[in-house]
Symmetry: C2
Subunit: 675 residues, 2 copies
């Protein structure tokens, strides 16, 4: 709690710095205000929709589970929504100031955008640590240890479910606006990005904030809280009676807040290439954490820990925690390779654009799929090693230490949308081209950072979900034994029910993403039709004599996003409950389903987020003047790839991350209800 | 054997009918001969390349396994290659005669194309039945029952491995030529399909024969032989001492040859809409089989069969066999819905084309993913039911009865490339437009049929692979017990090694298809450059004054296909051997790998083949005059979708089918070598 408090104080200190910076001229502030207004309006309506669904689930939990779990659910849901609000609020404050800073120097703009992101990062991590620790401490006092642990699952569900909605709603919003704006604006009319004549341009900029900032913040809050709760759960279920195993994940999280603060300081001091400075910040953060984990582990487990009959030394536990830090570095490096324009994969897509739209798409799809190999290989190694050091608890520790870096990683992720918006404000305010050049350069770095953090999020989600699956089995065992029955369930691959479960679970990411992409396609089509209508009704827009009605596009995507997010977001819930209740299926099929979702979810998510990032930067590579540059045939093809990549990397792909966890958490929750 | 012989005799009778039909005018025969020559030249070179690899594997098997397995491998490989040759030879005879028949009446063209396909179907099925039964009978006499069964795995490996090469080589060839021809011809120059001015047009038509006909025939031979061998293996390993369990799969296969003949007769008699007539043929075939299975089952198992301690009645076994027939109908109906232009999914893609290339791609990707849901759901039901009726043997029987319909199903599959080629010959011979209209209509039906049969192939492959996985576990058990050790291996999802195996196996289809698509992209790029070069060097080609050099394009794709197929085809082999030999991995990880490959392979393959078919027919839907018709903006976008779909549905997607089985068969084969 102390570390969380320090993190929050530092975040407020950063806010003060950001707010003190100049917010630019009148026109810039007007545009920023319009974006801010649209984002606030959308988030408010999203809160209303989500609250209605949350209320129903709260009532169901209140009736069919215990009251504390239901309260945990509300706490998790509330914090997840708050994280989203924080992310959006800070971003809209930072974007205009980044534009202003870009007019001074690149370093200033870099720091401004990064500090804006860092505020979100520290607030979200601090919030998650505080929420879980306060809720656990209070519940422990009220109902005792066992029930307190179980009701934490409610908190996890609240966080995950809301985060699925936020990711989907925000993701559909941002990409429908973006794709719609690009299809008519860039391809039909030849507008530049963020051209004020484009009626969808404000909606596009609002989207960056509600999707990439608010959605992402809710998502990371969820990932952090669930990894923490997963580690506590595994500790409590498999290593009964040792309070240190529950304290350890909190300590790892707390230490890393200090690490993240050091990382933020590094970025604010260092100079050099933007990508190098940002990576330096992450490295600083990881090294500080790695150093502090050592005494903490030895202090908590002076004589080690007995797991599955064998004693593990404190050094072995320490190794498990370091694996999480190393995995972060590995995943970041791999995703960077596949999505940065400096390396072969992105350049291959760019070259494929020279022969047309179709070869660009084929190359991009192939790159996305190739990009799954190394992360999955390293996840396998991480599982093998951390299990070797400390069993399932070791995997849980590795995940928690991986997530402990979230504070600094989010700072990178927010970087992208903030610079993207800063560029938009520059263009719309008719600022000199040099400012746009600075924000464009930072935006390309931001694209890679966004892909990198998504790779990180999904890799950690895969591991966290495995921990949750372990908890599912343990909880099922505990439940059966509480009822005085023998535990007969087998999760062997020889069992047809397990195979059926794997198939059903494997299906979930495929149709979940299919629905999400459909949603973007549908909403984007509506935007295209509206923009075409406006340009036809008011031809003066093209010449700059008429002002477009930005509000109608904002309104269309707002409604579409809220409508279209419902089905895919409820899909995992329905799937799990159906498998649990339909007669010949049941607990064994459900176990297979959980693992099946993790397996295909991991691949689909990595392929989508990496492929999408690579497409985006292939376009940027061509726009830098390579292979014919802007306006060439290759450029047109690369825009198609970028547009296909949009829902891949910003809607469907990242939403898989909370979805996998919803599936696993719901399964744990319903054990006592249906089995 | 008798039924197989009847099937072969009927096939020769059909060949006589096809050969007797008129082969058109001089120009038509010239073009047909050019296509035939290119196809023969490619297949000959493919045989040389594959033979070299087969020779190495033969030697390895000869040294590290027994001689009979090595001989089985050669038999399987030889038959698989022969099946490819048969498919190609018959198709090039039937295509020009279909063009000629189209000038008389639609029904004549339909029957000619179908009969050409039926020859391939009956020959392939007859060959597979004969090869397996003769090899088994001979081996049984020479080395006894146990060894004979084991050496059948060698035959399965030969069939599968060669089929991976044939599918990939042919698939890369056909789609590189197709994509290359389309990208320059249609999009840059505005040529019609098969315009003789396009230098890549002969290569494109050759590709239809070596990919869609030869590759497909090898693939179906493999699927049939492996399903048969899988059923025998499960019967021999789990139900020791009952010869009827080994005879039963043969009997099901034999009966269905008779069913297939009835189906062929039906198509040659019935009149009506092409799709309805073809479906009528399949239905006839299935009903005849279902009727004859009843007495056969009761004759072979008069008192039923004891499986896992419980007695199953002959009626229960019969039900297991009927499940396979029903599954075929279900998969055919579902795939038809997702890929036929009469239904919502294809029309959704067509409408998405109105807003651009990118929305067409997004819609197509989403349709492909949606199309996985129902087949996988029904596969789950089929597993549950057939296992309920007769355990693992029940699943094996269901697969075999599903595959027994291969004779008639291939006739549908060959239909597409034959009509496609017939249309090409019509255009290149400057025949009247009405003929092209007939072949175009049949081609659209052919697209759906091709997608349908691919859905069938992959669904059966998923089930067959599960049977092989069961055999892997049984064989591992038998091996460990032969060595006098206790069987300690656990394939439970709680075991991290199983999870790692699932991840590694799940990875395989993703990188396998990534490599395959890269291969097509690369080879197509080479064709594009060559066509551009020719059109620049000889501007007279565009006006019809110069004749293009068709040979150089044929040569480029031939070399590219042979070069690019090697890496992806050897990938599954390398993966399995690596997992088996690298130290901390081993048999348990390998077991997880087998299942992981099945799970993701099934989804990726269905998504690719259905998505590809839907894209193709969305284009045809627009070309029929909907949404602006040919030359509209929507049409351009739909061509992009079709081109992306090409490697999806004809290279990467269908090659997953034999690849899944290679993985499982190699795993069974290497048990005594490495464990």
């Amino acid at each position: 709690m102390l570390c969380a408090a320090i993190g929050l104080i530092f975040a407020f200190f950063l806010i003060a710095i950001v707010l003190r910076a100049p917010a630019g001229n009148e026109r810039m502030r007007q545009i920023s205000a319009a974006v801010q207004e649209g984002a606030k309006a959308y988030l408010n309506r999203q809160v209303v929709t989500i609250s209605a669904i949350a209320a129903i689930i709260f009532i169901l939990l209140f009736i069919f589970k215990d009251h504390l779990t239901a309260i945990g659910f509300i706490v998790g849901a509330f914090c997840s929504l708050s994280a989203g609000f924080i992310g959006m609020r800070v971003a809209v404050i930072a974007n205009v100031r980044t534009t202003q800073a870009a007019s001074v120097a690149r370093t200033n703009a870099l720091r401004m955008a990064f500090n804006g992101g860092a505020v979100t990062g520290l607030l979200v991590v601090g919030l998650a640590l505080l929420a879980v620790s306060i809720f656990y401490t209070a519940a422990n006092k009220m109902v005792g240890h066992d029930m307190a642990i179980r009701s934490l699952v409610g908190l996890a569900l609240g966080a995950s479910l809301i985060s699925v909605f936020a990711r989907l709603g925000g993701g559909i919003y941002t990409k429908a606006a973006d794709v719609g704006a690009d299809l008519v604006g860039k391809i039909e009319q030849g507008f530049e990005e963020d051209d004020p004549r484009n009626p969808a341009t404000i909606a596009d900029n609002v989207g960056d904030n509600v999707g990439d900032c608010a959605g992402m913040a809710a998502d990371v809050f969820e990932t952090y809280a669930v990894s923490l709760i997963g580690a506590i759960l595994v500790g409590a279920l498999t290593l009964v009676g040792n309070p240190a195993v529950i304290i350890y994940p909190f300590v790892l999280g707390g230490i890393s807040v200090l690490g993240a603060i050091c990382g933020v300081l590094f970025v604010n001091v260092a100079t050099g290439k933007p990508a190098a400075v940002l990576m330096g910040g992450v490295l600083t953060s990881a090294i500080i954490s790695a150093i502090l984990f050592w005494p903490a582990t030895h202090y908590l487990f002076p004589t080690g820990l007995t797991i599955a009959g064998a004693t593990r030394t404190p050094t072995q536990l320490y190794f498990a925690s370091v694996i999480g830090l190393v995995m972060t570095a590995v995943v970041v490096a791999i995703t960077n390779y596949y999505t940065s324009m400096r390396y072969a994969p992105v350049q291959k897509i760019a070259r494929a654009s020279e022969t047309g739209h179709a070869t660009n798409i084929i190359a991009g799809l192939a790159v996305g799929q190739h990009a799954t190999a190394l992360p999955v290989g390293f996840i396998g190694i991480a599982i093998l090693l951390s299990f070797h050091f400390a069993g399932l608890y070791g995997i849980a520790i590795a995940v928690m230490s991986m997530l402990s870096l979230a504070g600094i990683i989010i700072s990178l992720d927010s970087f992208g949308p903030i610079t993207d918006n800063a560029g938009g404000i520059a263009v719309m305010s008719n600022l000199p081209k040099e400012i746009r050049a600075v924000t464009d350069e930072l935006d390309a770095v931001g694209n890679t950072m966004k892909a990198v953090t998504k790779g990180y999020a999904i890799a950690s989600a895969g591991l966290a979900a495995l921990v949750l699956f372990g908890s599912y089995v343990e909880e099922l065992k505990a439940h059966v034994m509480r009822n005085g029955e023998p535990f007969v369930f087998q999760f062997s691959l020889n069992e047809p029910k397990v195979i059926i479960g794997l198939f059903l679970g494997g299906l979930l990411p495929f149709i979940f993403t299919a629905f999400s992409m459909d949603a973007v396609g549908k909403a984007a089509g509506a935007v295209v039709r509206e923009v075409r209508r406006q340009l036809k009704a008011k031809p003066g827009i093209l010449t700059g004599q008429d002002t477009p009605e930005y509000g109608t596009c904002v309104d269309i995507v707002t409604k579409a996003a809220l409508r279209e997010m419902i089905v895919p977001a409820l899909l995992p819930l329905i799937f799990v409950v159906a498998v649990a209740t339909i007669k010949p299926l049941g607990p064994v099929v459900l176990g297979g389903l959980l693992v099946g979702t993790i397996v295909t979810g991991l691949f689909v998510a990595i392929a989508m987020t990496s492929g999408g990032g690579a497409w985006d930067n292939a376009k940027k590579f061509i726009e830098e003047g390579n292979l014919g540059g802007k306006g060439s045939f290759a450029h047109a093809a690369s825009i198609t790839g970028d547009t296909v990549g949009d829902p891949y990397k910003d809607t469907a792909g990242p939403a898989i991350n909370p979805m996998i966890k919803v599936v696993n958490i719901v399964a744990i929750l319903i054990i006592p209800i249906f089995f």
